[in-house]
């Protein structure tokens, strides 16, 4: 177990800045997710923590020790790669044993520890196989077993679920969280998938253009976005934005309901929404259209759960309600969050 800190970490490649002065600190045993679009610098940041990439400036501290000049093997970390990076010529057992042999673990312990790691991920019967004889899900488990067999103090995971099909991914997400909580090892997890981030992380660091835009627990990042980037990146469909009185106003597609559907004492704002198109997704209905009076030129999406029985005709306008507190206001220039105000 260890705390990982990055202090003003910067990585400049010849033509662009990949990571631009990131300050981050994990907590003991925490599952921290680095979330952002591709090219935002999250993988570069992870590789610098691993020691696979040398930072241009700044410090990396693991368990209180500055590790800037330590090679990966001396950082007590383990990493799972997007491709899993299993050694194709070695059996599963030898793949898992490789870090132990490299660490010169006593030969009589190696088999036992490999068995233990394998049983933890339910892959005992695969031990004699080669990686090419495994399915995607099995490879991922082998990669995880190889990562944890050495009992590292930090796990680094680089999009480990992105090569799995959608169904398997949900199951793997659940398992991954289960193992992390059980082992209690500090984990840094890179993903561009907000569902993974929301579901797995104790905290999420949302990154864009080499900077951390917001760091906080999933609910906080989702409900109280620090700027328009975070607000727009999280959530599917994304937050709706429109301009009003010199500010950018945003609300989430699922936080707007037909007038009267809210039975609450909270202050509500009523708006007219003209429906241009309806998409029926089974569990939800997506209404595409515009706020007829407030922003007739900005396309928006409303996400109605199937429990809301509003008969909708395309081309018609309906009155909807939003809680005043669900309206988020942002500065027009900087995109940063500003205090709420009446519409």
């Amino acid at each position: 177990m260890a705390i990982v800190e990055t202090k003003q970490i910067k990585k400049v490649f010849s033509d662009h800045t990949a990571v631009d002065g990131v300050d981050l600190a994990t907590r003991e045993g925490e599952f921290l997710v680095l979330l952002g679009p591709s090219g935002c610098g999250k993988t570069t940041l992870l590789r610098m923590i691993a020691g696979l990439e040398k930072q241009t400036s700044g410090d990396i501290v693991i368990a209180g020790q500055v590790v800037n000049d330590l090679p990966p093997r001396e950082r007590k970390i383990a990493m799972v790669f997007q491709s899993y990076a299993l050694y194709p010529h070695l059996t599963v057992a030898k793949n898992i044993a490789f870090p132990l042999k490299a660490a010169k673990a006593p030969a009589d312990q190696i088999e036992g520890r490999v068995q233990k790691a394998a049983s933890m991920f339910g892959i005992e019967r695969l031990l004699h196989r080669k990686p090419r004889q495994l399915s995607g899900g099995e490879r991922q488990r082998v990669a995880l077993a190889r990562a944890m067999v050495r009992e590292p103090s930090v796990f680094l995971l680089d999009e480990p679920l992105s090569n799995l099909d959608a169904k398997l991914r949900t199951a793997a997400r659940d398992e991954l969280q289960h193992f992390q909580r059980r082992l209690g090892t500090t984990t840094i997890y890179v993903t561009h998938d907000q569902v993974e981030a929301m579901g797995l992380g104790h905290r999420i660091a949302v990154m864009n253009k080499g900077k951390v835009r917001q760091l906080g627990p999933p609910q906080e990042v989702y409900n109280e976005p620090a700027d328009t980037f975070v607000a727009g990146f999280l959530g599917s469909p994304p937050m709706n934005f429109f301009e009003r009185n010199g500010a950018v106003v945003g609300f989430r597609p699922e936080q707007i309901l037909p007038k009267g559907a809210y039975s609450t004492q909270e202050q509500l704002v009523h708006v007219w929404f003209r429906v241009d198109r309806v998409e029926n997704l089974g569990a939800d209905r997506l209404l595409y259209g515009v706020l007829r009076d407030l922003a007739p030129d900005v396309k928006m999406i409303i996400n109605l759960p199937f429990t809301v029985h509003l008969p909708v005709t395309e081309g018609q306008a309906y009155e909807f309600s939003i809680k005043q507190k669900d309206l988020k206001f942002f500065d027009k220039e900087s995109g940063l969050r500003v205090a709420s105000r009446p519409l």
């Binding site: 696979l52 093997r73 990493m79 491709s83 050694y87 194709p88 490299a102 660490a103």
Partner: protein, 300 residues
């Protein structure tokens, strides 16, 4: 129907030139030499008689043939062992980025793109008994040998049997190293960076990564390079021919050069054919092995 639409006809038309070429340049001479090797044909009497395995028997009785056979194996095996070793070092180094990398690459590839005869003639001068630059260096800079009284005489590179063989092997290494390095480099760059990263994270140092990850992964490709090198070394005579003509006293003669001297210079077509075909079964086996390995390397 047009020919271009008839795949079967098109296939025959397209493969025909290659078949004709191989048949004319390799097939007919090969069959001819099969016949020669069991006949008593000479340059002056082309109508030979069947003599059975007599040519092979008399070749085996000939001390210079036995020496050439031994030399061929020595030449092929030693040169390829050195080539594998150097090619691996070079390929691993060339994978890394460093200043002046392109110059190193160019220098390594140079022997490959230069005409063999030109390169070998260059070596002929480098190893010359009077004008050798190596000896010049040994005498003028290192003072290890020299023509003056009291000094050790400088080596006659191509005149002393063991030195001559070493020189021939050295030049063969120089010739085949680029191809082996390039093949090796291709194999190395086919290993994903993630694998190297994973090994670094897993705590493997340079040598553990090299011997347990890198080399096993390039092995199928490396073997192709090695087998190519072996087949070349077994059938090639140009280095021997340019440097020593098999001398001194047939000490550097290999089967290919011996067959040439015997058949073309000496006129004994039958005897030369027997010598040239002596290793054919071994080489055919090597070629089959090579093709199988190449196919396996594709799958991996």
């Amino acid at each position: 129907m047009r020919v271009a639409d008839d795949e079967k006809a098109l296939a025959k038309i397209l493969i025909a030139p290659a078949l004709l070429y191989i048949g004319a340049v390799i097939g007919i001479p090969f069959l001819l030499s099969l016949w020669f090797s069991v006949s008593d044909v000479t340059v002056s009497s082309s109508a030979g008689h069947f003599v059975g395995l007599e040519n092979f028997r008399s070749a085996l009785d000939d001390p210079s043939f036995r020496r050439a056979l031994r030399n061929t194996f020595l030449f092929a095996i030693l040169s390829q062992v050195i080539v594998i070793f150097l090619a691996t070092i070079l390929a691993v180094s060339l994978q890394k980025d460093f200043r002046g990398k392109w110059i190193v690459r160019l220098l390594i590839l140079l022997p490959w793109v230069a005409p063999v005869s030109l390169g070998s003639i260059g070596w002929l001068w480098i190893l010359d008994s009077i004008y050798s630059v190596i000896n010049y260096g040994l005498y003028h800079w290192l003072h290890l040998c020299g023509p003056l009284p009291g000094m050790t005489p400088c080596p006659v590179w191509l005149g002393q049997p063991s030195l001559a063989m070493a020189s021939v092997i050295g030049v063969q290494v120089w010739r085949t190293l680029p191809l082996a390095t390039v093949i090796n480099l291709g194999g190395l760059s086919s290993i994903p960076q993630d694998i190297h990263d994973a090994a670094a994270i897993d705590g493997a140092g340079f040598f553990r990564t090299l011997f347990q990850i890198t080399i096993p992964l390039v092995l199928p490709i490396l073997l192709v390079a090695v087998l190519f090198g072996f087949v070349f070394a077994f059938t090639d005579m140009i280095v021997v021919w340019v440097l020593t003509r098999g001398g001194p006293y047939d000490m550097t003669q290999v089967l290919a050069s011996l067959a040439f001297f015997k058949g073309i210079d000496g006129g004994d077509l039958a005897g030369a054919s027997a010598i040239a075909l002596f290793l054919f079964p071994v080489l055919a086996a090597a070629a089959i092995l090579l093709l199988r390995l190449a196919r396996r390397a594709e799958v991996v």
